[in-house]
Amino acid sequence: MEQMDVIDGGFAAPVFDAQTVFRAVMDAMARPGTIQPVVGLTQPPAPLSATAGAVALTLCDHDTPLWLDAGLQVSTARSWIAFHAGAPLAATPADAHFALVASPANMISVENFAQGTQEYPDRSTTLVLQVESLTEGTPLHLEGPGIETSATIAPTPLPRHFVEQWKQNGARFPRGVDVILAAPDAVACLPRTTRIKTMEA
């Protein structure tokens, strides 16, 4: 019942580690397109990555229902998060405060997640996408609040038709999801206010 990999691998110094990761995510969210380093502070069971695991332990707790994609759902990562963060599983993606996605290429479409309400637009899902790289994919040119002129990131892999989905997400403003991209050694963010301007071939 109690496998080692469920109990091990949490933050070694919960307060300071969570503060470090929170600072990185906050900066990445405030300046969309910038890449903020996050070094391996957790060792979660596969397929959850060290960065996504650190983000989950920083942001999730008992009050934040969590949605896991199919690969995470059947893994021991589910029990690892339950033990270390105490976050309950959301019954549907529309109930999730956070969603962890180990395989973005197969992700269900963005509109399935909570979008918030006009009165409480903050009640939308924050998507944490595990990507392999923030520089080796197709470049995305970003504009919007927090970006002085323009910024570029090139995350991969991304959900299918992501640029189109993101455009629809922006059209729902002030509702809409926010995205945290968790690469092996860094995070970058796409808050709902960021526009993806063009996509180079």
């Binding site: 109690e2 109990i7 091990d8 949490g10 919960p14 033990f83 270390h84």
Partner: protein, 154 residues
């Protein structure tokens, strides 16, 4: 181990953890020291203090509702032998949580169980049972013994 034995063991462990949780912190610390309980344990989580939301039921037996919160301190410890123990108890005593988690881990080792039962759990249970019995007897002494006065002519 079949499912029935597993359930019995779970019930015993639950009862052992309950005795630890309900123990007065000073008494638990004294008993653990007297038993020379190992302090070589790696803390995998905590000891840390948080809250639980306490629930009652409408009318006593109806739908649940939250009626307040309580402080709880918990810990998870691993012994050098690999046993993992957990503790949860009301209050904010971190040393009590740490010792309880270690005691739970030791309890799971069949070669140490009897020692934990005899030297720590048995005295705790006896003290609790005695305090409860006294409380019940003190309350019982305030029970109203109604008697009806004779009324009328016959």
């Amino acid at each position: 181990m079949d499912r029935r034995q597993e359930r019995e063991l779970e019930a015993e462990r639950k009862a052992a953890m309950a005795a630890l949780a309900q123990a007065p912190a000073d008494e638990l610390k004294r008993l653990c020291a007297a038993a020379g309980m190992t302090h070589e344990a790696e803390m995998l989580r905590g000891p840390e203090t948080g809250l639980v939301s306490v629930r009652g039921r409408i009318g006593g037996g109806g739908a649940p509702f939250n009626f307040g919160e309580a402080t709880v301190t918990r810990a998870t410890a691993r012994l050098p032998g690999g046993e993992i123990g957990h503790s949860y108890a009301l209050g904010r005593d971190k040393e009590k949580a740490r010792l309880s988690a270690i005691a739970d881990a030791l309890w799971q080792n069949p070669t140490r169980r009897a020692e934990i039962e005899d030297r720590i759990l048995a005295p705790l249970r006896a003290a609790q049972a005695e305090a409860d019995a006294i409380g019940r007897a003190e309350t019982a002494a305030t029970k109203v013994d109604f008697f009806t006065m004779v009324r009328g002519e016959d």
